[in-house]
């Protein structure tokens, strides 16, 4: 028997598109409508040969299949015996599972960090310093007449962002493409830049200078240079005029600002620019959050500990100091002595010096699929997929919580991340007395 599930939430990027139509027949997904190319790839391949069905423990360099109970017990023992364990990942799971991970970190006296650390971590540090003028994506869809994507290429990273929320969306007060202007600032003429009314090509690592020059132009100050970051000053002044004269502007920024030189200082400059613009018009700013629940990871960890990522419980209370308690530093300094990775692949996405330390310590990975990190793990616990096989709450990039639906049953015996973490937590509490 076939049935169609309407308004299913996509679990790929921070857009969390909640308009998928999923046709299910004989317990399998047979058709998905409204999905982008990345989402379609997930639905077509989530049960491929790279799916892990049985838990595994590595013995003498070889993985041996085992029961869930054995894997959870081994994982709990590794964590309980560690002096300074790290819990990392958490942007590809439900907020319910993240809550359990925070409790586990506290009981262990370890560090809990999420992928924000190597994504929009500098953005959050910038927000601590400056504050942020923001709103929901719905407001932007209905009202924005000037959209800026700075160092972000949503056609590739958030494929439906433009159609659902910005230039191609049909809002209440802005209905057509011609009612909105698109400006793209990037170091390459990206697929998004090709759609722009104005494209500004900047020199890599000089965003801080360009943002500062724009702030001067917005304030009406004279810039005594011919160009900044490779952009002629008259173009910067023209851009400032456009920003001032819009009715409702928004600056979306990507990892081009957080991952290049300047890091959180680039974000300070962008947030300050938008703050300055609000003296002249209505302007907002929003980071283009990558994974579907990375915002949720920040929300949950912040409401439980007071801090959004990189929280250290080793002193018995939550401590937050990016640069010290962040995963890359903990690994490159060789400090943590065990790691629990939930829904992430740091062995593929960290620089070599950080991966080298991961290879030296016991690693437990909770993930539905094989990846570089499962290969170097000591314990691998497979899991049911949030938003396909189990329900769960996720936070869209603008902080709006959405309920993911269960679409099909998971392969026999697979539990949710939340259930697995609950079991490990109970074991660790017993071991720690």
């Amino acid at each position: 028997m076939e049935k169609t599930i309407y308004n299913a939430v996509c679990t790929i990027c921070g857009c969390c598109c909640d308009d998928l139509e999923v046709k299910v027949g004989d317990g399998k997904i047979v058709e998905v409508k409204n999905a982008c190319a990345i989402s379609l790839s997930k639905f077509q391949n989530y049960n491929s040969e790279e799916r892990i069905i049985k838990p595994m423990i590595k013995k003498n360099g070889e993985f041996k299949e085992c029961s869930f109970k054995e894997a959870a017990e081994k994982a709990s023992m590794i964590l309980a015996e560690a002096e300074y364990p790290l819990i990392y990942g958490l942007s590809l799971t439900s907020t319910e599972a993240i809550g359990k991970a925070v409790e586990l970190a506290e009981v262990l006296g370890g560090v809990i960090d999420n992928t924000t650390s190597v994504c929009h971590g500098p953005s959050l540090i910038g927000v601590h310093d400056i504050g942020v003028v923001t709103c929901t994506l719905g407001e932007i869809k209905n009202r924005a007449d000037l959209i800026i994507y700075w160092a972000s290429n949503p056609v590739f990273s958030h494929p439906r962002h433009l159609a659902r929320y910005t230039i191609f969306s049909k809002g209440k007060f802005r209905k057509e493409r011609k009612e909105r202007k698109l400006i793209v600032v990037d170091v390459r003429k990206t697929a998004t830049a090709k759609l722009a009314d104005i494209f500004i090509q900047a020199i890599p690592n000089q965003d801080y200078e360009l943002l500062s020059a724009l702030r001067m132009a917005v304030k009406g100050e004279e810039i005594y240079l011919d160009e900044v970051a490779g952009v002629p000053v008259n173009k910067i002044e023209e851009l400032a005029d456009l920003m001032i004269s819009c009715e409702f502007g928004v600056l979306f920024f990507g990892l081009g600002l957080t991952m290049s030189l300047g890091k959180s200082r680039n974000i300070d400059a962008a947030l300050s620019l938008v703050r300055d613009l609000n003296e002249k018009t209505k302007f907002l700013i929003m980071p283009m959050r990558g994974h579907y629940n990375v915002t949720g990871a920040n929300e949950v960890i912040a409401w439980q500990t007071g801090y959004p990522f990189a929280v250290d419980f080793s002193q018995g209370y939550p401590k937050y100091n990016p640069g010290e308690t962040t995963t890359i530093e903990l690994l490159t300094r060789g400090e943590c002595d065990a790691a629990l990775i939930i829904g992430s692949d740091p062995a593929a996405h960290f620089p070599v010096s950080a991966v080298k330390h991961l290879m030296k310590i016991p690693v437990i990975t909770i993930d539905p699929h094989k990846n570089a990190t499962t290969l170097i793990s000591n314990v691998v616990i497979p899991t049911a997929i949030t938003g396909i096989e189990v329900e769960g709450t996720v936070y869209r990039m603008d902080g709006v919580p959405l309920e993911c639906k269960k679409l099909v049953e998971p392969p026999l015996g697979l539990k949710s991340d939340e259930e697995i973490l609950t079991e490990i937590l109970a074991n660790v509490k017993k071991l720690k007395g």
């Binding site: 390459r188 003429k189 697929a191 081009g256 010290e324 062995a347 593929a348 070599v352 699929h369």
Partner: protein, 129 residues
């Protein structure tokens, strides 16, 4: 040739990672280096030939791809993934964030060299274990 290296997301990388980290799609979409067409001409590289990218932190062999997001003379792009991270800069300047973009690099032809598989990349990091 001296260049600035940008690593980042691409649509094909997104599709590849969802296909599977050990799939041929992921390998084909991620173990690549996008170059500006004029830089390819200077280096005498044709699309599909291999190049070596070297930074202070390591080196990696990748397939050269003519960039569809040109012009970006003097800038090369490698999609996020284990190949890119053989050459990224771990320096965080106390921020938690390594330099994944805007890294000083050198690119040159390596037509005869072989691209490592994901397993071989991990073996290289571990020191050949």
């Amino acid at each position: 040739m001296k260049v600035k290296l940008i690593t980042g997301r691409s649509l094909q990388q997104g599709v590849g990672k969802e296909t599977g980290k050990f799939s041929i799609e992921y390998f084909n979409n991620v173990a690549i280096c996008e170059l500006d067409p004029s830089d390819m001409e200077t280096l005498n590289i044709s699309p599909g030939e291999n190049v070596v990218v070297k930074t202070k932190f390591g080196e990696v062999i990748l397939k050269a791809v003519k960039s569809m997001q040109a012009p970006h003379k003097g800038v090369i792009f490698i999609p996020y993934g284990p190949w890119a991270n053989l050459v990224t800069d771990p320096e965080t300047h106390g921020s938690g964030m390594p330099n994944f973009k805007g890294i000083e690099a050198e690119v040159s032809p390596a037509k005869e060299e072989k691209i490592l598989t994901l397993k071989e990349v991990l073996e290289k990091i571990s020191g050949g274990k």
